[in-house]
C-alpha cells in the first residue's frame, strides 16, 4: 500500500466538510464565552444555517467533478453532489423546525445545532466515502450525533427510550457492518470499493466468504435505511424522537445511507450473485408490504409516517436493485436520487405538519386530531393534502415522478414482478394516505395548531408544497441534469 500525503487539492475537495465542522463550533464556543448561557435562539439558528449554507455552496462549487481525494478514499461525483445537496437542505429545514418546536428549542439549542451540523458532516463523509472503513466512520459520526439529539428532547420518557433503543440496535448494526468489512478485507485484500469493483465477479465465484462479507455489509445498510425485517426500531424511534429530528432522520439519513448502499451495490456484487439478487428483491417486497399494511392501523400520525417511510424504503430498494443489475446504472441511479429528493421533500413537509400541531413537548398528535382542520387553516390543509397525495404517488407531484422513474428503471431491467408488487403496494398506501385528508376535510372538529410563533414551520410547509408541484412538473429537466452528472 502506497502512502500518499494529502495535498491542497484534497483539502479543497473536503472544504465543505471542514466548513461544516468549523461552523458547528461557533454556537457552542459563544455559549462558553457567555458563561454557559444560551444566546438568543435566533442567533444560533442563523449561525447554524450559515454553516450549512457555506458548506452547501462549497459542495456545489467543488463537488460533482468525479474526482477522488485522499488516495481514492473519498469521491466527489454526482452521487455525492446530489445526495449531499439533499442531506444539507434537509438539515437546514430541520433546523428551522427545531428552532420552533417545544421539545427542542430552549436552553440546549446551541448544543443541538452543533450536533446537527456534525451529523450532517458524518453524512457528507458517508456519501463521499469509497472505503468501507471511511464509510464506517461516516456512519458512526452521523449516528452518534443523532443518538444524543434524540435523547436531548425535553420530553422525558419516550425520547429516552427511543435514544437508547436506537443506540443499542444501531451499535449492533455497526458491529455487523464491521464484521462484514473484515471478511471482505480477508478475501479481497482491500476495503476500497473502487478496488473491489474490478474483482468482485471473480471473488464471488472463488471466495464464498466474500459473498458472506457483502451480505453482512448490506444487512448493516438495511438497518440504517429501515428495510424489513430490520425495521422494527423505526416506528418507536420516530415516535419518541422530537418531531424535527424525526424529520431529519427520515429524510437526510435515509438519503445518504441509500446513496452509500448504492455505491456498494454498484460494485457488481448483486449482478454476480443470483441469491443476493433474490434476497434483495424479497426484502423490497416484504418491506413495502410490512410498511404499508402496518401504516393502515396506526392512529398516531408520527407512527403512520414512520411506517410510510419504511414502505418508501422498499420502493427505493427497487431502484437500487435495478441499478445493481443494469449495464448502464446511471439511469437507475438517477431514478433513485430523484426518488430520494422527492421523498425527502414530502416527508419533511409531513413531519413539519406534525410539528405544527404540537403545543407542548409531551403532545401526541393523532390523525383524529385533524378533524375540522381544513376550515380553520385552509392553506395548511391544502399543503398537507399535497404532501399526502405526493406520498401516495398521485400525479403531477414529485412523488408520482419518483415512482415513475424508479419503476421505469426496473422495467428496463425486466424486473416486472417487482414493479407489480410496487404498484400493488402504492394502491394499499392510498388507503392510509387518504385518511388524514378525510379527517381534515370531511369531519367536523376543532383542530388547532400550536399557539406559539410558528412562522418558520409554516414557511417550510408552504415552500415544500410549492416545490413538490414545481419539481414534479419540471421533473424531466431535473432528471437529465442529475443523469448528466453521474
Amino acid at each position: 500500500m502506497k502512502l500518499v500525503f494529502p495535498g491542497i487539492a484534497d483539502l479543497i475537495h473536503i472544504s465543505p466538510l471542514i466548513a461544516l465542522f468549523l461552523c458547528s463550533l461557533i454556537p457552542i464556543t459563544i455559549k462558553i464565552f457567555r458563561g454557559n448561557k444560551e444566546q438568543p435562539a435566533v442567533a444560533t439558528l442563523i449561525q447554524g444555517l450559515i454553516g450549512i449554507a457555506i458548506s452547501l455552496a462549497l459542495l456545489l462549487v467543488f463537488g460533482g467533478t468525479g474526482q477522488t481525494a485522499f488516495a481514492d478514499n473519498l469521491i466527489f461525483d454526482g452521487l455525492t453532489y446530489w445526495s449531499g445537496f439533499i442531506a444539507l437542505s434537509a438539515a437546514a429545514l430541520s433546523l428551522f423546525l427545531m428552532y420552533e418546536n417545544p421539545s427542542t428549542t430552549g436552553d440546549q439549542f446551541s448544543e443541538l445545532t452543533f450536533l446537527t451540523l456534525n451529523s450532517a458532516l458524518g453524512m457528507l463523509i458517508l456519501t463521499s466515502a469509497t472505503d468501507l472503513l471511511i464509510i464506517f466512520i461516516g456512519l458512526e459520526l452521523m449516528s452518534l450525533s443523532l443518538y444524543l439529539m434524540i435523547g436531548m428532547s425535553h420530553e422525558e420518557k419516550l425520547s429516552k427510550e427511543a435514544a437508547f433503543k436506537y443506540f443499542i440496535l444501531g451499535s449492533f448494526a455497526s458491529a455487523i457492518f464491521l464484521y462484514g468489512t473484515a471478511f471482505i478485507f480477508g478475501t479481497a485484500k482491500t476495503t476500497n470499493i473502487l478496488a473491489i469493483m474490478e474483482q468482485s465477479p471473480d471473488l464471488m465465484e472463488t471466495h464464498k466468504l466474500y459473498l458472506f462479507g457483502i451480505v453482512l455489509i448490506m444487512l448493516g445498510y438495511c438497518f440504517k435505511v429501515s428495510l424489513a425485517p430490520f425495521h422494527a426500531w423505526t416506528p418507536d424511534v420516530y415516535q419518541g424522537a422530537p418531531t424535527p429530528i424525526s424529520a431529519y432522520m427520515a429524510t437526510a439519513i435515509k438519503c445518504v445511507s441509500f446513496t452509500s448502499f448504492l455505491r456498494v451495490v454498484l460494485t457488481g456484487s448483486v449482478i454476480s450473485s443470483v441469491h443476493l439478487f433474490d434476497i434483495l428483491q424479497w426484502i423490497a417486497v416484504i418491506t413495502m408490504l410490512v410498511g404499508n399494511t402496518a401504516a393502515i392501523i396506526q392512529g398516531n400520525l408520527k407512527r403512520m409516517l414512520a411506517y410510510s417511510s419504511i414502505a418508501h424504503s422498499g420502493y427505493i430498494l427497487i431502484g437500487v436493485i435495478a441499478a445493481g443489475v443494469s449495464q448502464e446504472p446511471s439511469f437507475a441511479s438517477t431514478g433513485v436520487l430523484y426518488y430520494l429528493l422527492s421523498y425527502s421533500l414530502m416527508t419533511l413537509g409531513a413531519f413539519a405538519m406534525v410539528a405544527l400541531m404540537e403545543r407542548s413537548e409531551n403532545e401526541i398528535v393523532n390523525i383524529d386530531d385533524l378533524a375540522g382542520f381544513s376550515k380553520r387553516h385552509p392553506i395548511l390543509a391544502l399543503c398537507f393534502t399535497i404532501f399526502l397525495l405526493s406520498l401516495a404517488g398521485i400525479p403531477p407531484t414529485v412523488g408520482f415522478f419518483g415512482k415513475f422513474y424508479v419503476f421505469s428503471s426496473a422495467i428496463a431491467e425486466g424486473l416486472i414482478w417487482l414493479t407489480v408488487w410496487g404498484v400493488i403496494n402504492s394502491v394499499i398506501s392510498v388507503y392510509y394516505y387518504l385518511r388524514p385528508i378525510v379527517v381534515m376535510y370531511m369531519k367536523d372538529g376543532d383542530s388547532v395548531v400550536a399557539t406559539h410563533s410558528l412562522h418558520a414551520t409554516k414557511g417550510t410547509i408552504v415552500a415544500t408544497a410549492i416545490l413538490i408541484i414545481i419539481l414534479g412538473l419540471t421533473s424531466g429537466a431535473l432528471f437529465e441534469l442529475v443523469q448528466n452528472t453521474l
Partner: protein, 517 residues
C-alpha cells in the same frame, strides 16, 4: 392553441375563484366562466374537419425528453363530442347546484372546474403519461366532491371510489412504461406518444393468457373496465352515485364513466387488436350480463337514486356490447350511447336532486301522486324516462338500436339476450314512474307543513337544454354522427393496422386521405 385554451381555461377559472371574494357573486362568476368555456369549446366545431379520420388541431411540445414524454393534445371524431359533452354539462351542473350546495360554496366550484380541466385533458391527451396524469388527477376533485358534500355514508363511498379506480390504473401505468420501452426497442428512442404506440406490432399468441399482447391488453382494459364499470367491477358505482351530491352524480354518470369507454376506443382496440378480438367474447358476455344484471337489480331498488345508478350499469353494458362487436353499427352506436347516457342519466340525477331538495327523501314508497301537484316536473321526468328506455324519436333509441344491430351481426345469441334488457329497462323505469307520479298521494305530499312546489324558473332553465338535446339527437342523429363518422369508419376498417397521423388542412386531398386508407 385552441385545445390548450379549452383544457386550461377551467384551471384558470379555478384559480380565479380561489381569490374571488366569498359572496353571492361567486356563483354567477362560476356560471359565467363555465358558459365562456362552453362557447370556446364550440369553436372547435367550426374548425373541425369532418372528412378526415386523422388527428386535428394537434399541439405538441416535449415535456420530459429523456423518456419521450410530451405535452400532446389533439382531437378527432371520437373525442370531439365527449369534450363538448363535458363543457356542456358543466354550466348545467353549476346552475343545478344553485340551492343544493350551501356549504363551502367556493371549494365546490373550484372542484368542479378542476374536475372539468382533468376530464377534458383526459379526452384530448395523446401521450400515455400525459394522459395518465389527467386520468389520476380527475380522481382528486371527485374524491373531495363525494367526501365533503355527499350523503351519510360518503366517506366509505369516496374511499371505495378512489381505491377501486386507482387499483386499476396503476397496472396500466406499468403497461404504458413497458410500451415506452417497446418503442425504444423498435425505433431507438423512447416515446410515450400514442402515434408511436400505434405503430408497434405487439406479438400475440392465441390460446394463452401469458402472451405479451394479452397481458398488456388486460393491464389497460382493467383500468378502463373499472371506470366504465363492467359487471363484476361495478360495485363502487352505486355507492358513489348514491352518496355523491347531485352535481357529483351528474358529472360522474355524465362524463367520468365515459372516460373508461372512450379510452377503450382510443387505447385498447387500436393498440391490441388481436387480443381485443380474441377476448371480445369476454367483454360481450360481461356487457350482456351487465345489461341484464343492472336492470334486474334496478327493479328492486327502494331508493330512486340507486335505481338510476344501477340503470347506469345496464346502459354501460350496452356501450361495451356495441364497442366489442367491431362493426360500424355497434361502434358508432356505442359512441352515440355515451352521449345519450350523459344527457339522460345526467338529467335524471338532476331531477332526483330537485325532488330531494324539496322532500329530503329518495324512497320511492314515500312519493306517489306527484303528477297532480308537480305537472312540470312530471313532464320533464317523463321525457327523460322515455329517453332512458330508448323510445323512438328520443336519442336513446338511436344508440340502442345501432348497438343491437351491431351486436346481432357479431353474435346473434348474445344480442338476443341484450334485447331482453330493453324490456327490463322499460319495466323498471315505468314501474318507478308509475309509483312516483301516479297512484294515491304519498307521505311527502301529505306533509302539510312543507308543501311541495313545482319547478322554479332556474330549474326549468337547467332542464330545457337537456330536453332539446334529447329530441335533437333523436330526430337528427346525423347532425352529431357526421362528425365522428370518418374516425369510426377508419377505426373499424383498419383496426389491425391502425395508425393515425396529424391532419394537415392545407395539404391537397387531405379531405379524403383518412377514409381511403
Amino acid at each position: 392553441m385552441l385545445l390548450t385554451t379549452v383544457v386550461f381555461l377551467p384551471l384558470l377559472c379555478a384559480l380565479i375563484l380561489v381569490f374571488w371574494p366569498q359572496s353571492k357573486t361567486l356563483r354567477f362568476a362560476a356560471l359565467g366562466f363555465s358558459i365562456v368555456e362552453f362557447i370556446v369549446s364550440l369553436t372547435i366545431l367550426t374548425n373541425f374537419d369532418k372528412g378526415t379520420a386523422q388527428l386535428q388541431m394537434v399541439e405538441k411540445h416535449l415535456w420530459i425528453e429523456r423518456f419521450g414524454i410530451s405535452y400532446h393534445l389533439g382531437i378527432d371524431g371520437i373525442s370531439l363530442w365527449l369534450v363538448l359533452l363535458t363543457t356542456f354539462l358543466t354550466p348545467i351542473v353549476i346552475l343545478g347546484a344553485w340551492n343544493g350546495i350551501q356549504d363551502r360554496v367556493k371549494g365546490f366550484h373550484i372542484s368542479i372546474f378542476f374536475l372539468q380541466f382533468a376530464m377534458i385533458g383526459t379526452f384530448l391527451a395523446l401521450d400515455a403519461i400525459f394522459f395518465y396524469v389527467f386520468w389520476e388527477l380527475s380522481l382528486i376533485p371527485m374524491y373531495f366532491m363525494i367526501g365533503i358534500w355527499g350523503g351519510a355514508r360518503r366517506i366509505y363511498a369516496t374511499i371505495k371510489f378512489f381505491i377501486f379506480t386507482m387499483s386499476g390504473s396503476v397496472l396500466m401505468l406499468l403497461a404504458m412504461i413497458y410500451m415506452m420501452f417497446l418503442v425504444q426497442e423498435s425505433t431507438g428512442t423512447m416515446s410515450a406518444n400514442i402515434l408511436d404506440f400505434y405503430k408497434l406490432n405487439v406479438p400475440f399468441v392465441a390460446g394463452t393468457f401469458f402472451s405479451l399482447q394479452t397481458l398488456l391488453f388486460f393491464a389497460f382494459a382493467l383500468a378502463f373496465a373499472i371506470k366504465v364499470p363492467i359487471f363484476p367491477l361495478h360495485t363502487w358505482l352505486p355507492d358513489a352515485h348514491v352518496e355523491a351530491p347531485t352535481p357529483g352524480s351528474v358529472i360522474l354518470a355524465g362524463v367520468m364513466l365515459k372516460m373508461g369507454t372512450y379510452s377503450f376506443l382510443r387505447w385498447v382496440l387500436p393498440l391490441f387488436p388481436e387480443a381485443s378480438e380474441y377476448w371480445a367474447w369476454l367483454f360481450l358476455l360481461l356487457g350482456v350480463v351487465g345489461i341484464i344484471y343492472g336492470a334486474l337489480v334496478a327493479m328492486v331498488q327502494p331508493d330512486v337514486k340507486k335505481l338510476v345508478a344501477y340503470s347506469s350499469v345496464s346502459h354501460m353494458g350496452y356501450i361495451m356490447l356495441g364497442m366489442f362487436s367491431f362493426n360500424i353499427f355497434g361502434v358508432s352506436g356505442s359512441l352515440f350511447q355515451m352521449l345519450n347516457h350523459g344527457i339522460s342519466t345526467g338529467a335524471l340525477f338532476l331531477l332526483i336532486g330537485m325532488i330531494y331538495e324539496r322532500t329530503h327523501t329518495r324512497e320511492i314508497v314515500k312519493y306517489g301522486g306527484l303528477a297532480g301537484r308537480l305537472p312540470l316536473f312530471t313532464i320533464f321526468f317523463f321525457i327523460m324516462t322515455l329517453s332512458s328506455i330508448a323510445v323512438p324519436l328520443t336519442n336513446g333509441f338511436i344508440g340502442e338500436f345501432l348497438i343491437l344491430l351491431g351486436a346481432y351481426k357479431a353474435n346473434p345469441v348474445l344480442a338476443g339476450f341484450a334485447v331482453s334488457g330493453v324490456v327490463f329497462g322499460a319495466v323498471y323505469m315505468l314501474w318507478m314512474f308509475k309509483k312516483v307520479f301516479f297512484g294515491p298521494e304519498g307521505e311527502v305530499l301529505k306533509d302539510v307543513h312543507h308543501p311541495v312546489k313545482d319547478l322554479s324558473k332556474r330549474e326549468i332553465a337547467v332542464l330545457v337544454p337537456l330536453v332539446i338535446l334529447v329530441f335533437w339527437m333523436g330526430i337528427f342523429p346525423n347532425h352529431f354522427m357526421d362528425y365522428s363518422k370518418s374516425s369510426l369508419d377508419y377505426l373499424v376498417k383498419n383496426m389491425k393496422q391502425y395508425e393515425l397521423t396529424v391532419h394537415d388542412p392545407k395539404a391537397p386531398g387531405a379531405l379524403q386521405a383518412g377514409v381511403q386508407r
